[in-house]
Amino acid sequence: MSEDARAAEILNTIAVAASGESSLDQILHASLGHLARAIPLTGGSIALVEGAELVVHAAVGPFAADARGQRVKRSGGRSWQVIETGEPFMSRDVISDGLRRTTPIRSYIAVPLVWRGEAFGLLEVDSTEPNAFTEWHLHLMRRVATVLGGSVQLARRVEADAQALSAAEEAQRRLALVAEASRILASSLDYETTLTSVARLVVPAVADWCIVDVLNEDGGGLAQVVQVHVDPEREGLARELRHRYPPSRDASPPHPIYQVVQSGESLLHEEITDADLSARALDADHLAMLRSMDISSDMVAPLSLRGRVLGVMSFVRGSSGRRFTREDVALAEEIARRAARAVDTAYLYAAEQRARAEAEEAARRVNVTNSLIALAASAMDLGEVFDEFGEILRTLIPFVRVTVSLYAPERDALTMPYFKGPGLTAPRERLEGPKAGTVRGWVIDHDRPYARTDTRLTSEFAEDVLLGSAGIRSYLVVPMRVGGRVIGTLNFGDEVPGLYMESHARLAQPIADQLALTISRFQLFDQVQRRAGELSETLQRALLPAGLPEPPFSALGALYLPADPQAGIGGDWYDAVLLPDDTILLSMGDVAGHGVQAAAAMGQVRHVVRAYALEGRRPGEIVNHLNRYLCRLPDGPQLSVYIATLDPYSGVLTYCGGGHPPVLVLRPDQPVAALTCTGPPIGLLMTMAYPEGRLTLEQGSRLIAYTDGLIEATRDIAASERALAEAAARTRLEPPSRAAASLVQHVLGGSLHEDDVAVMVFDLLPVDAPLSFSVPASPDSLYRVRRAVRAFAKRAGVPAERIEEIVFAVGEAALNTVEHAYRGIGGQMQVRGERRNGTVIITVRDVGHWRDPVDRGRGRGMKIMREFADQVEVDTGTEGTVVRLAWQVLAKPR
């Protein structure tokens, strides 16, 4: 083959080889290999210019391994000269050319690889034989250089494209990673979970090991929230490493994560050597653990947001992977930035939730406190509501028992009127007793709350011992203040020690003060009521009838309620007098106004009415007379008045009134009716003529008279009147005194009444009612007794001939009473009669003592009694004498 043909063949082979190989180095290597077969070389190399260095990419020959990767800096050496000049160089024999010899090389050719006029590489061949190379070889190499020039550039471009592509792909991948990380972080406020998911994204895509530390909200330190390792075993080891050797801020130098927190800048350790690990390790164990974690490269990025560092994210690669570079740091920072935002949002949300919860709790507390205050304020009797009070209080302040202690200064002692909780039945358990030595006493004296952490640890106060033995370990005692005084304490106790804080005391204070207010108001009210009641009652008792008369065939009941003490003593009165002819006088009235003046006027009027009646004047006369008299008085009182007389024997009711509420009449088998007296209050109009009314009542009728205080108390007069009428019907069968009370209860309910209330209930008893009759034990009463007994016997159906026997016998018994019982001092004699089947029993009772009989024919009296009655019993006792007479009357009552 001709040399040209051979050259062409070699070039072709190289060209083909060049196009077939994938990487640059492979192209160079293959090309050199082919060249080596064509040229008798010992060694050869292809080097490329990379910056300021010439880097050997391919080499053949005995020193090829060493040569590859060799870098020769730009210098004046032969290789660089060729690059600089762009001129090939050949030396047939370096010795004869006088060139420096450091190697056994004798023959040498170096040709530049040129592309578009610029030398970008060097092709060298050498031989240990001198004159190994000819012009033909030089020429060949120049042509090879040319071919290589294009191939290399092409290969370089391809590589550059490939690199660019992979860089683009890498960038794309990173973008996708960051996007996915963002998506995860935005998916939930639970940053621990989301950060863990992000770490699992990072491992192993970016790192072998990822740790996220987040600063505690109070900025107190870093807390590890995420720890993910590609190798699960190492993950466990990592946790232990952290646990045993937590990163220290104060170490010198500070742990990398603290460095990043403080600087706000990321840290990159491209290459971590064993020496670096040794420097980090605190001891041999630590070093061993670090080594087993396989740490080769790491980077730490700050979770920073708006200049604040919220934590750090650490990425670690092991020895197997490539090292971290600056580009990786950018990715790390990007992910860390997103993580920071997620943590921040979570913190903000948590803070907002907490604020809202606090606000709601505060609102709840205010509501509960208000309810408690309202409950305490509205209660008249705290004892009734204390149980409910305690239950509501429990939602605010925990306790097993809650009690109220009051201080009684006159005894220097404590009482416990209100309590709730177990084991509080015995007074000892309720801790009532002297104030000295008690924590409640201390609180009262110092006007400050006191909390005990554990009763078991001290016996400073009496309660520590007592409560401790009852299982109460912690307690809180709060002073109850009102009007600048501490009147007692509100006490909480629980089985759990150390339960009560200052916040509890603060919550309890307004409640304790409201209790104090309620209690003191109640006490005051009670006191005032009692004192006023006493005063009222004393005065009124002095002015009102001492007792009610007991007329024959009648029953009488009355109720007087003094007005609300704040309103003062009123001018109401009621009166019932049994007149000598056994007519009953009923009077009732209401002097306008309150106070002692009204009361005095009332007393006077009452007596005047009596006086008139005893003179025999009729109701109409009395009222009109009184009116004219009062009108004549300068500044005389005005008053409502109702006066009636009723004859129990005839049933005739005579009445007159002015300015008084209608009197209710209940007649047998008839609905409630009202007797109205027209006319204004008396003492007003001189010329007023008050008409007298007259009515015959049947046996079994009832009269109800009342003062307007009864119906005006509830402010709805019509309703009260209706209630009264209803109540009158309902209480029809109750005896008069009980009925009077029932009526008042029905109409007033629980309302306070500002005016006095007086009610009188008068019954004209039915025909079969027993006799109950009281008269003064004086001679002039005997006629009345006989009359009543006669009427009773008749009503009881006693045959006519026996009636007189009864009268004579009872007459003697009554005579005895008059003669014996009262030594000249007036008293009462009570006659009772009843019929039990066929027997009539009449008793004559007195409450005096029978003196020894003065012989005034007394013996005869006894004899008459015994002869006129079937049975006679005389019971003389210290409380009085009862003469009991009985007759067997065979006839049935009519």
Binding site: L782, Y783, R856, I864
Partner: protein
């Protein structure tokens, strides 16, 4: 309550009509009336109880005192009644044997006329 007393003279005999009830309250009136009669020198008295509806032991005492006084003066007090109860009273007290008792006033007056001073009871 009052008791009505009517005093008249029937042929020299003083008659006291008692209408109403004689008890501790009203008996003094009877006593006074009888005293008046006796003080006037008359000792022949008839007490007419026919219209007396009630009479108790005090009235009995008044009558017995009057009787004694009348007797001392040589006269007597005679009673007129026919009511069962009044009768019973005088019977059980034994006073029906002490007083001259008549069922009608004319009888009583006639008997009384035969009494003279110093004459004993009939």
């Amino acid at each position: 309550m009052e008791v009505q007393l009517n005093r008249r003279n029937e042929n020299g005999v003083e008659v006291l009509d008692v209408s109403g009830e004689l008890d501790i309250y009203t008996s003094p009136k009877l006593r006074t009336a009888i005293q008046d009669v006796l003080a006037g020198g008359r000792s022949r008295v008839v007490v007419n109880l026919l219209h007396t509806t009630y009479l108790d032991s005090t009235a009995l005492s008044v009558l017995t005192s009057a009787l004694k006084q009348a007797r001392d003066a040589g006269g007597t007090v005679a009673l007129v009644y026919n009511q069962p109860q009044i009768e019973k009273i005088f019977t059980i007290t034994g006073l029906h044997e002490v007083f001259p008792v008549f069922r009608t006033e004319p009888e009583a007056v006639t008997a009384a006329r035969s009494w003279t001073a110093g004459a004993s009871r009939s």
